[in-house]
Amino acid sequence: MVAGQVQAEFRRLRRVWEFTGFGLAFPLILYIFVGLQGSGPGAAEYHKYALASLCTYAVVNIALSTFGISVANERGSRMDALLRATPVRPLAPLIGKTVAAIAFALAAILLLYAAGILLAGISMPFEQWFTLTWRLLLAIVPFICMGFAIGYLSGPTGAVLAVNLILLPMSFASGIFFPINSLPTVIKDIAPYLPMYHLGHLAWNAVGVPYDDLWKSVLWLAGYSVLFLAITLWAVRREDDRRFS
């Protein structure tokens, strides 16, 4: 059941190649245009910092799109009603999507790593690459929960809008596209409350930026997971009351 669901999700990713291609190519293009700038002292550090930033962006984009847009589509097309009439365990489709999203995110960041190594000449010890990878893939969880909440609170068209309206401003305000220090004061004040800022901290730290209070970021991300999970459960219950009670 779960294996079949995972296979179906991979097939979906392969067939919606515009979506998949965009998810893989857009961070790569941004990295080539923005992340490879600079030369001389400090450039190598900047290249690593930008790589961590765009990996963060890629992972969050995939989590929000996979869960937000496809969940909204399944509700909009009433596929969820058909599934409810089958004996499928509700967790099976969820696990299928999560496995596919994590594999997709891994592919996106490996592509960025390749660009970093081949185009920017980044060299880091293996432990650092490994730390960056597992942190990004583990910290995808709060964004999966966030995507789920979007998917349950909006319709198919609304979800695409919602994902973009949330993702781009949140990326800017979290210092993903430009370093935090170059942002206006208002945004600098907001940033520490955004989940992506904290995922950014985990990623930047993995490539060598020291932070004293990294545990705070972990707590923030855990808190956001709980918050979005609660919103999702509330939305699922509301949906049950409206359509399936």
Binding site: R15, E74, M79, R84
Partner: protein, 312 residues
């Protein structure tokens, strides 16, 4: 290992509910949505191997009745049982197959792939080849679901409904929007499935469909059962004739006092049912009614339902 066989038989027997009782049962089921009463106390049972047609106009409560049977909705009062279990019980759900109105399927999968996916949900599915053959999907099995026409997609829904080799099949308005030839070939597929000894619940507002397929017809309107019998017996509830003609400028008052039922006026076109066709026509001609295009025919299931549902 005879010992283990015996013990597994015992555990199977306790896990499986009794199969001799009704497959589906609604007992005084009521359902209200806000202030709207969709079902106002419906009791029905479907026996093993039986094909029951739920017939009624749009908005009669057919889909609500099916939703209760499937556990997609819960009755406001009364009970719904599937194989003697709560319809939300996965053991009950493992034994049913469902075609819903306007439900989505993964458009990015090929026909064979989506059948394979749904097969993994069921404990003892039919083989993919068998499902593809029974649903008439042979030539489309490699096509993407998203590229199929409406009629072809309907076959995919049928394939998904039967892939678990269910004991009961629920078809909610399965042929809406299909052309006549496609509908007839769909009927053949349904008959083929029934020959395997399976129960089928079919909702439809096409009378010929109920007539062609059902062992028993349940006429629902305004959330209550108006009649429940074989298609032939229901037809016999209206023993009279169906009379149609054209009469320019006709109003209902022109036919007042005549023994007619189910009167329908559509511009100059008049249609009604009567057990006294000769008397009615004699009276009309006596009044000098300018009637043209007169037709008198034996009333069928359509007319019977029209009368039963008050001409809606």
């Amino acid at each position: 290992m005879p010992g283990s066989t015996a013990s597994s038989q015992v555990s199977t027997a306790s896990a499986e509910p009794a199969t001799s009782g009704p497959v589906v049962e609604l007992v005084d089921a009521r359902k209200t949505f806000g202030s709207v009463q969709a079902l106002a106390g419906v009791s029905l049972a479907v026996r093993p191997g039986e094909l029951v047609g739920l017939l009624g106009p749009n908005g009669a409560g057919k889909t609500t009745a099916i939703s209760l049977m499937l556990g997609l909705r819960r009755p406001t009062s009364g009970t719904a049982r599937l194989f003697g279990l709560d319809p939300r019980d996965l053991r009950a759900r493992s034994r049913i197959g469902v075609m819903l109105q306007e439900s989505g399927i993964p458009l990015t999968l090929k026909v064979r792939e989506v059948v394979d996916l749904f097969r993994t949900y069921y404990p003892q599915p039919l083989s993919t080849d068998k499902v593809v053959e029974m649903a008439g999907l042979g030539e489309f099995q490699g096509s993407l679901v998203g590229k199929l026409s409406g009629g072809q997609r309907q076959r995919v829904y049928f394939a998904l409904a039967i892939c678990g080799d269910p004991d009961a099949l629920f078809l909610d308005e399965p042929t809406v929007g299909l052309d006549t030839a496609t509908r007839r070939s769909f009927w053949d597929q349904v008959r083929g499935f029934k020959r395997r000894g399976k129960s089928i619940v079919l909702t439809t507002h096409y009378l010929d469909e109920a007539n062609a397929l059902a062992d028993r017809v349940i006429v629902i309107d305004h959330g209550v059962i108006r009649a429940e019998d074989t298609p032939e017996a229901i037809r016999a509830l209206v023993p009279g004739k169906k009379v149609t003609f054209h009469w320019r400028g006709v109003t209902a008052a022109d036919l007042a006092g005549l023994p007619v039922e189910g009167l329908a006026l559509d511009g100059p076109r008049v249609a009604f049912l009567t057990s006294h066709a000769e008397d009615v026509l004699r009276a009309l001609f006596g009044r000098g009614a300018p009637i043209t295009d007169l037709e008198v025919a034996g009333a069928g299931l359509e007319e019977a339902v029209l009368v039963l549902t008050g001409g809606r």
